[in-house]
């Protein structure tokens, strides 16, 4: 039996939900950041699955651009994390409830 498109969509939905759960329950900024990466990857899986089953290259192009955005997000996000840690000596999001550094 060949894998169906619906299998990939179901897997993507499950991974995305696990990522959302992580963002909600985690208190460490870096762990939340990694859960966001997990959500981005779940969406990428949907793009690649649709691109493959509908024989359209645009889905894979979009995955490529999503990866670039994720890299930019990683650079800026980790810069912000370092700035927060330097000011508050903590990575707990509850401590960083004021936007001002």
């Amino acid at each position: 039996m060949e894998p169906q498109l619906s299998w990939y969509l179901a897997l993507s939905a499950i991974l995305f939900t696990i990522g959302v759960t992580g963002v909600i329950i985690k208190r460490n900024v870096i762990a939340m950041f990694m859960c966001i990466e997990l959500m981005l990857n779940a969406v990428n899986l949907t793009f690649v699955a649709f691109a493959s089953f509908f024989q359209d290259v645009i889905g894979q192009l979009f995955v490529f651009i999503v990866m670039t955005v994720a890299a930019a997000e990683a650079a800026v996000g980790l810069g912000i994390i370092i700035a927060i840690f330097r000011n508050r000596e903590s990575l707990d999001v509850d401590e960083a409830s004021i936007l001002k550094l």
């Binding site: 039996m1 060949e2 894998p3 985690k26 950041f33 490529f64 800026v76 700035a83």
Partner: protein, 216 residues
């Protein structure tokens, strides 16, 4: 055969994803996340997308995760300590949302049907590159600007507070400093005075390591 591979890698992906959420040590989170990325790359190969699979391993599992692990090591993060459940009132909402997810997955498994199969070369590097440099050139160029902005932004954010160079030395004792020397966002000619109560506070404001002065 492909179905077996799908079940294997999907199981790996879900298991590693659960580990990302369940583990309390950020380093273990990162390693589990690398597991998710690798199993997703394998799934991309079964979806006939070898280029995306390679980029997934190189960019995600390679570059981005190295950056994350580097920051974890740099900040020397402690274990997340256990605390009482502060989200108790959200439990019913979580149950409802989980039911929605299960319904959604069941709906997809039942109703989404495969389009008719066709032979093509969409996953190959050549076909992606041809589209990327012709029809989708504008998004590609915008992405390059985005990356440049990310580089500048990351450097601005991660820079130490003051505007002094790293070999600057601190004058010990209580002192008054012009605002333009302390705050990078202030105008360069802003000479309003900031008072400090100790050498340590002056060092912190200026971004100078106070041990440098003790050594002299």
């Amino acid at each position: 055969m492909l179905a077996l591979l799908f079940i294997l890698f999907a199981g790996m992906a879900i298991g590693c994803a659960l580990a990302v959420v369940a583990q309390r040590n950020p380093l273990y989170n990162a390693i589990a996340l690398i597991g998710v990325f690798i199993s997703l790359a394998c799934l991309y190969v079964t979806l006939a997308a070898p280029f995306i699979a390679a980029v997934q391993v190189i960019v995600y599992a390679g570059a981005i995760m190295v950056l994350v692990v580097f920051v974890i090591m740099l900040l020397n993060v402690e274990h997340e300590e256990r605390r009482r459940n502060r989200l108790k009132f959200l439990v019913p909402a979580a149950v409802v949302l989980a039911a929605v997810l299960i319904a959604e997955v069941a709906f997809m498994l039942v109703s989404v049907t495969n389009p008719p199969p066709a032979v093509s070369n969409i996953g190959l590097t050549g076909s992606i590159g041809a589209q990327l440099f012709t029809r989708y050139l504008l998004p590609f160029e915008i992405t390059s600007i985005l990356l440049l902005m990310a580089i500048v932004g990351a450097m601005t954010l991660a820079r130490r507070g003051g505007l002094l160079s790293s070999d600057a030395r601190l004058i010990p004792g209580v002192q008054q400093l012009p605002l333009s020397m302390v705050d990078p966002r202030a105008a360069p000619d802003d000479l309003r005075l900031v008072e400090t109560d100790s050498s340590e506070e002056a060092a912190r404001l200026l971004g100078v390591d106070p041990r440098d002065t003790e050594r002299d």
